[in-house]
Symmetry: C2
Subunit: 539 residues, 2 copies
């Protein structure tokens, strides 16, 4: 969703935070922090916002690594304390909360950074032979426990960090595609493509700290609110290394030759193999843009307007509906029903006519156009964008102050949304009352389809220091039960990991679970790849 | 590709041809046949067009059915000779040629027509227990040997014809989706949706005689030249019956929860289970249309123009490039480089501006706009459409006269197309010289993507009666070798079946083959489902 690949070009030296999001230098401080705390206090007056310092890494008391790598691999391996701690958790609220409490019950024994495919093959051979668990690792931005060695039944755990496989290897201008290594971070990828006038245009919120391989393995959602919503459709071919071999699909714009090989590995979350590189479909950089924000007095009307736009075939790049709380909190605007942020873009032709038709549809459903793109800097759209980029840092600042801040997201058909939304809201309110005394639930649509929206919910609740993890787990469980009951997916683009397993297992058809397990047995007979994710028992 | 779902509403009683395409009443006769033969004579003067009558079914000497169904299933079963013969082959040239020669070395022992899901479960139980091979059957229009019991190592073969599961069960207007049984034929499906103002808008050439289940199992290509090219993206959820159980995915507009369950069954061609019903995404019927034909003096320029349109983001519904031979044969127009047939459509907004931009791109690449849509009845686009619908019947008329008429289709990236096309052309010309003395190769793009086209080739060669099958196999093998060598898919939308196995096996990554085999072992442990397709040894 983020569009600021440009930022990275002016980047100065920064230090990654081991316990929280991004870099230490970018943490919320000063007036930004004060304003944030003031907003929270106004909304949740009973919140105790006492600051708690994160512990030192040395205070985590990590046990010594249980394994020594063979000499052939030793130069790629690290058992450094900070390295192991930094790779032990993802970056969700559960992770940050546990880090802040010094709660790191599992950490990898080794962090291995392969320099090429043969290194990966060698590591998999060694691990398969010794039954060491292997956790594929890109940028480590999982918010679902996808990179965490949350198991005890393996003699050792190795985190395979693909960060050194970070090159754009080949560009095909004619077909607008590039062969890209899996370990490249978002900004580095865009920096490599920019001189060629090309872009992947995949901008998840994690863009700066997540990798192509991670996006592919988790079916990440990105910039486009319609059509190319997930990374899936941008894949032309993929290369995968499994314990039993290496496979690469052909570069095909389209094919009907059997089930799609790529679709089996997209979303496999490191359980079937490691994606090492992919030919990705690229975009020319857009030169025509048109955008507007539309304000509604009623959320129901806003939803109907959004549905009309989603079903119109206009395919806006941006079509994000913010409810009233989200509008107030993150777009700086007070509305009765919400704001729909619309954006069109093209490298080929003007898009004003598409915007005009989309806003016409909105007006027919009770919307008022707030600001055409001319007044962009002061627009709710721009305010939203700025908030969006700062959200993870705000989450960290508030997590230090006992606040529970997390999101959950889903998708459902349009006909199912009103009942789902009512039930989610009710369950969250009950959970707030039971668990934290108070709390706020926000809702936005991050992506929309002709047959339904992808609602994305935000939770703000005043926790109790020392209990925030169990408090959040209780809230999460309550709303997840509602999703499953309404047959809404447990995740639209955050992946399953270990955190979503109980609900994913109920969502996934048993027949497919059995097929997937059969595929895993064939590719990973020792069962060492990312245990507990998708398939094996989660502990 | 066909847009004439309307035809079916005025249909009168017709008799299906057991040996050829469609119905006996619709065969090419009279002036149509004379004109066809005159065209062929002009193009291929050495063709011997002596007519050979199809044999009587009784002359096929089918062996008696090798199995008696249990009494509980008997009422669903037929061992009628005509039934068995009609289900023995698909409808490709290989099938028609063999039928005309009375060559039916394998036929199913029984044709079973389940009335509901429990019937299917019962049949699968019975077949699994007795190791009877099961061939899932929709409309039987496979052109790749997908429904043919071409194996000898099973005690009996059962063809499971889903034709009785032909209802639209539920319509969700709000989300624009419908729950549809797999055995419904194209016209019946559209007839059921039309009163609701909705349409699947999936119109393969086989539309009249193929089913939703067949489209899903084979990843069929349809009406849309861009975006919704295959049926895959129109699927919201699917229900599948396997020997080990029944599974149904949830209705999700989008999801990132693990690998897509539906994508494993899409293209599985009856080897993993029977698709019994699906929730399909629908379209409103278009009310705005704009189209044009653009003529080129050079095929290279035509290809470049088509690429520009495919990469423009304009997303025409129709974007079919016909080369000079295809233009002359099937669109009635003589050009130096070919014709690009463009069409835009929308249920929501006018599309003239999109057409204007697309034709502007074509002009920049040397194209001349032939006819705006006003002069539609005389246009190459309209001539092409009429030809397109009559092609299978013409194929049959010519197959009776020793002509080899068949197509093969692929996709590749834009950068790879020129070399591939040159190599395919050369291989075909060599094969014609070696095998039939002369022949014509035509080329069109049926679908286009930002990263490459889907070229579709037509073969017209004068065969020798009694040898046409081996002659065609030799030509097919020559061009298929070129496809594999250039890493172009062995099929873009015709499926793999049994005919494409040798090349599919080389195209498919071994790693994926192993995963797919693992999935099949889990779902079909007795290996009775469509043996020889995709996975097991083809005999």
């Amino acid at each position: 969703m983020r569009e600021s690949g440009n930022d990275a070009t002016t980047e100065t030296a920064r230090t990654r935070s081991w316990w929280g999001w991004g870099t230490i230098e970018d943490a919320a401080t000063g007036p930004e922090l004060e304003a944030l705390l003031a907003r929270i206090t106004a909304l949740l007056p009973n919140a105790d916002l006492t600051d708690h310092q994160p512990p030192e890494v040395t205070a985590l008391n990590l046990p010594a690594a249980r394994v020594t790598p063979p000499s052939s691999l030793a130069s790629l391996c690290s058992d450094d304390l900070l390295d192991r701690a930094s790779h032990a958790h993802g970056k969700g609220f559960r992770d940050v909360a546990r880090n802040l409490q010094g709660d790191m019950s599992h950490a990898p024994d080794l962090v291995i950074r392969p320099q090429n495919e043969q290194d990966i093959i060698d590591v998999l051979d060694w691990c398969t032979e010794n039954r060491h668990a292997v956790i594929p690792y890109g940028g480590g931005s999982s918010v679902v426990g996808g990179v965490e060695p949350r198991f005890t039944d393996f003699p050792a755990t190795v985190t395979l960090d693909l960060g050194r496989l970070n090159q754009v290897l080949e560009i095909d201008h004619t077909s607008r595609a590039a062969r890209i290594q899996a370990g490249v971070l978002g900004p580095d990828l865009e920096n490599a493509l920019r001189p060629h006038g090309l872009s992947l245009r995949h901008f998840p919120q994690s863009f700066e700290f997540s990798t192509l391989g991670g996006w592919l393995a988790t079916r990440a959602g990105g910039h486009y609110a319609t059509r190319l919503t997930h990374i899936d459709d941008m894949v032309e071919s993929m290369r995968v290394v499994s314990p039993t071999g290496v496979g690469e699909s052909w570069r095909l714009p389209g094919s009907g030759a059997g089930p799609s090989p790529d679709r089996m590995f997209l979303g496999s979350e490191g359980t079937l193999g490691l994606i090492t590189e992919a030919w990705m479909r690229l975009q020319e950089r857009p030169v025509h843009r048109a955008g507007a924000s539309v304000i509604f007095d009623s959320f129901e009307e806003a939803v109907e307007a959004t549905r009309a736009v989603a079903q119109s075939g206009l395919d806006p790049a941006n079509c994000r509906l913010l409810d009233t709380v989200e509008s107030a909190l993150n777009a700086g605007i007070t509305t009765g029903g919400g704001v729909l942020v619309l954006g069109f873009e093209s490298a080929d032709h003007p898009v004003d006519i598409q915007l005009a038709r989309a806003t016409e549809l909105c007006r027919q459903h009770g919307g008022t156009v707030h600001d055409p793109v001319e007044n962009r800097s002061a627009s709710p759209a721009q305010a939203w964008r700025t908030s969006f980029l700062r959200m993870p840092y705000h989450r960290d600042a508030l997590a230090r102050r006992s606040m529970i801040l997390e999101t959950f997201e889903t998708s459902c058909t349009w006909d199912a949304f009103p009942a789902l939304h009512a039930a989610v809201t009710e369950a969250a309110q009950h959970a707030f009352a039971d668990v934290t005394g108070s709390g706020l639930l926000t809702c936005r649509f991050t992506h929309v389809y002709p047959d339904g929206p992808a609602p994305y919910y935000g939770v703000y609740a005043p926790g109790k220091w020392g209990s925030v993890l169990s408090q959040w787990d209780e809230i999460k469980s309550a709303v997840s039960e509602v999703l499953v009951k309404h047959h809404a997916t447990i995740t639209h683009h955050h992946a399953v990991g270990r955190d979503h397993r109980p609900w994913y297992d109920r969502q996934r058809p048993e027949l497919f679970a059995s097929a997937l397990a059969g595929a895993k047995r064939a590719l990973d007979p020792a069962g060492v790849l990312n245990p507990g994710v998708l398939l094996q028992p989660a502990s």
